[in-house]
Structure formats: structure tokens, C-alpha cells
């Protein structure tokens, strides 16, 4: 490939032009855009994974905090009922004591939820730091190369305007640009494949991670819920 200063300068010029088109949101060539439709759909999936992972982390944190509060309140209410129940010698006092006991137990059970939740938080966070950021790097590299490729296409379109294959000088210039389009296309196509594969893998591995980690979580609330229902039924 031609590596003269002029050529490099021209490459930079068209790349910059494309960057400008992109950042200013000017309308791009519809055919070029639609030929990347599959890639853009994958990027959409990637951004959704990125966004929902962030949200999930926030929600887990809040959920955990609320569980703590709830457990505390539950525990206090239980202790209150128990102490009041012990002073009341009627049947109502007995019921109060039993309910208080159940509430204290339930508050402890509730805290047990925190462990699998912590685990989920850690796993999701690791996933975000490793898998998502790795894919993100590839996406960035792909976007760089996409800009270069689209810049080369702009250049090619420009030299195509007044092309005459019987003019040696024009053809030389044309061939040079053609090489540039080919090279950037090859690089872009490879990264495009990489991105699509990585996003597919990312989606699949997140599904895997969630279904795996959530199994332990799902077992706990059931047992605590069941316990609470049984005790309440017994009492009332």
C-alpha cells in the first residue's frame, strides 16, 4: 500500500470528514447504513445488556438495603409483641407471643436472602468489569475501523465522479483509493464479525450466569415465605 505523506494525509482527511458527519449527525449514505443493519442490531443488544446490568446492580443494592430495614423492623415488632404478650395473661397474650416469635424468626430468615443477593451482585459486577468491558473495547475498535471504511467509501465516491478508465493518471489515483477501500473493508468486516460473535456470547453467558446464581436465591424466599404462612395460619 502507498504510504506516501500525501496518501496518508488524504486518508486522514476522509476519515476526519466521516467523523464529522457522524458527530454532527448529518445524514449518512442510506445504503451504507442499511448494509450494516445486522451489526447495528447487535450493538443495540449490547447496549441493552450494558444498561440492564447497571440497573440490575443498582436494584440489587436497594433491594438488599430494604431487606435489612424490613428485617430490623420485623424483629423489633416481634420483640415488642413478645414483651407485651408476656404481660398479658389472656389468650390474646399467647397469640401475641406466638406471632412475635414467628416475626423474629422470619426476620432472621429474611436476612438469609442477603447472601445469595451479595453473590449475585458480585457475579454481575465481575461480568460487567470483565465481559462487558472486553466487548466494549472490541466495539470501540470496530467503530474506529467503521469510520475509516466509511471515510474510504466517501473518498471512492469522490474519485468516481469523473472517472475515465482510459486516462492513466486518473486510474492510478483510482486504484490507490480502491486499495484503501479494500484494506479498510477487510479490517472492518473482521471486527464486525468479532463484535457480532462477542455480543451473542455475552448475551448467552449472562443468561447462564443469572439462571445459575438465582437458583440459590429462589430457594430461600420460598422457605421463609412458607414458614410465615404456616405460622400465621396456625395462630389465627
Amino acid at each position: 500500500q502507498d504510504s506516501s505523506v500525501v496518501n496518508k494525509f488524504q486518508q486522514k482527511y476522509w476519515k476526519t470528514k466521516q467523523t464529522l458527519i457522524k458527530v454532527t449527525g448529518k445524514k449518512e449514505d442510506e445504503h451504507v447504513v442499511s448494509s450494516d443493519a445486522d451489526l447495528d442490531a447487535k450493538l443495540e443488544v449490547f447496549h441493552s445488556i450494558q444498561r440492564t446490568c447497571m440497573e440490575l446492580l443498582k436494584v440489587i443494592e436497594q433491594y438488599q438495603r430494604r431487606i435489612c430495614f424490613l428485617s430490623q423492623e420485623e424483629n423489633e415488632l416481634g420483640r415488642f409483641l413478645r414483651s407485651q404478650g408476656s404481660q398479658d395473661k389472656t389468650r390474646a397474650g399467647k397469640i401475641m407471643q406466638a406471632t412475635g416469635k414467628a416475626l423474629c424468626f422470619s426476620s432472621q430468615q429474611r436476612l438469609a436472602l442477603r447472601k445469595p443477593l451479595c453473590r449475585l451482585y458480585q457475579e454481575v459486577e465481575t461480568f460487567r468489569y470483565r465481559a462487558i468491558s472486553d466487548t466494549w473495547l472490541t466495539v470501540n475498535r470496530m467503530e474506529q475501523s467503521r469510520t475509516e471504511y466509511r471515510g474510504a467509501l466517501l473518498w471512492m465516491k469522490d474519485v468516481s465522479q469523473e472517472l475515465d478508465p482510459d486516462t492513466q493518471k486518473q486510474m492510478e489515483k483510482f486504484r490507490k483509493v480502491q486499495v484503501q477501500v479494500r484494506t479498510t473493508k477487510t479490517a472492518f468486516d473482521k471486527l464486525k464479525d468479532d463484535v457480532c460473535q462477542k455480543v451473542d456470547l455475552l448475551g448467552a453467558s449472562r443468561c447462564n450466569l443469572l439462571s445459575h446464581v438465582l437458583t440459590t436465591y429462589q430457594q430461600i424466599p420460598e422457605s421463609s415465605q412458607v414458614f410465615l404462612t404456616i405460622t400465621t395460619c396456625c395462630i389465627f
Binding site: L153, M156, S160, Q161, P165
Partner: protein
């Protein structure tokens, strides 16, 4: 090489073996695997009515991302070969290609519809369908095979004949290069109707 006329052709259509068709016509050989075409050029001399005619052929990209670039090549084409593939459903895209061609070229451009490839067993588009489409849109139609070279010569030459006839009828203004026709450097323009064919021959001979 000297010529009486130069006709600019453009080959368009999906990824259907356009480059194979061109290679068969210019080099008389078949090469099944090609690099991705962006635009390639071919040229060959043919003789019509005793005149040497140079066909300058622009072979374009079928891939969608090059569509806008391809459009700038229509300008100044006298003939277009619109190629589809009889084994695949590229037939459905013909309307889009035709619209594109009509929109970006001069109205007199001769368009030849070509159903390419000879894998009869994998045929999905009947010859009659191609014929009907051509009739409906006023195109010339032919089925070719770049592999066996069947009808390849004819496709290019018949298109040239059609253009040549249009010149004779005065439909094409040959002095306007936007029509995709150039008059050869030694062509006697003054008495072309009388000794045109002979003049063309001399021009061809003089060069070689």
C-alpha cells in the same frame, strides 16, 4: 487501438457472477472465485457492420454498501447489462436495479437483462419469467453462462448492435459524450453515411 466508436457499458445486479461474465467476454476464460469487486474495467474490440467498436465495460459491485458509488458510474453509459442469477432469488431485486439504472442514466441507454449461470438443476427462475420481465420493461433478454461461455459473446454484441442501430436511427446524439458513445480518433465524420463502414475498417487496420 483505433476504433470507429467507443461504447460505455455498465454491468449491474446483485452478487451473481458479473465479474465472471466480463472475464469470459474479455479473456475467454472462467474463474469462479473473484475478489470482491468495487469497480473493474474491461475492454474489447468487436466489429459491427464492418466497423471497429471498442466496448469499454464497467463491472460494478453488487454489494449494497457500494450502491451510491455504483450510481456515479451509470452516467455516460450507452448500454447496461442487468444480471440476475437463475439459481437464486436475485430476480426479485431486478425492479430496484432497473429503477436505479433508469434514474441515473440517460433515457436511451440500452438495457439487456441477463439470466446468468447454467446450473439447470438448481434453477429457480424460469426462462419465461425472465422473458416476461424483459417484455414488460422494454429490455432485451438472454440467458447466459459465464462458465460454459454460452451466449456471453451474444449478450455483449447484441447490446452493441442495438446501440449501433439507435445511432443509425439518430436516437443517440453521438457528439454528446454523456450518451456513452465516443467517436474514434480517426473516424471520418464528414461522409460517414457513404463510406462509413470502409472508413472504420481502415481505421482499425491502420492501428495494428
Amino acid at each position: 487501438m483505433a476504433y470507429a466508436y467507443l461504447f460505455k457499458y455498465i454491468i449491474i445486479g446483485d452478487t451473481v457472477g458479473k465479474s465472471c461474465l466480463l472475464l469470459q467476454f474479455t479473456d475467454k476464460r472462467f474463474q469462479p472465485v473473484h475478489d470482491l469487486t468495487i469497480v473493474e474495467f474491461g475492454a474489447r474490440m468487436i466489429t459491427i457492420d464492418g466497423k471497429q467498436i471498442k466496448l469499454q465495460i464497467w463491472d460494478t459491485a453488487g454489494q449494497e454498501s457500494f450502491r451510491s458509488i455504483t450510481r456515479s458510474y451509470y452516467r455516460g453509459a450507452a448500454g447496461a447489462l442487468l444480471v440476475y442469477d437463475i439459481t437464486r432469488d436475485t430476480f426479485n431485486h431486478l425492479t430496484t436495479w432497473l429503477e436505479d439504472a433508469r434514474q441515473h442514466s440517460n433515457s436511451n441507454m440500452v438495457i439487456m437483462l441477463i439470466g446468468n449461470k447454467d446450473l439447470e438443476s438448481r434453477r429457480e427462475v424460469k426462462k419465461e419469467e425472465g422473458e416476461a420481465f424483459a417484455r414488460e420493461h422494454g429490455l432485451i433478454f438472454m440467458e447466459t453462462s459465464a462458465k460454459t461461455a454460452s451466449n456471453v459473446e451474444e449478450a455483449f454484441i447484441n447490446t452493441a448492435k442495438e446501440i449501433y442501430e439507435k445511432i443509425q436511427e439518430g436516437v443517440f446524439d453521438i457528439n454528446n459524450e454523456a450518451n456513452g458513445i465516443k467517436i474514434g480518433p480517426q473516424h471520418p465524420t464528414t461522409n460517414s453515411t457513404l463510406s462509413g463502414s470502409q472508413g472504420g475498417q481502415q481505421a482499425g487496420g491502420g492501428c495494428c
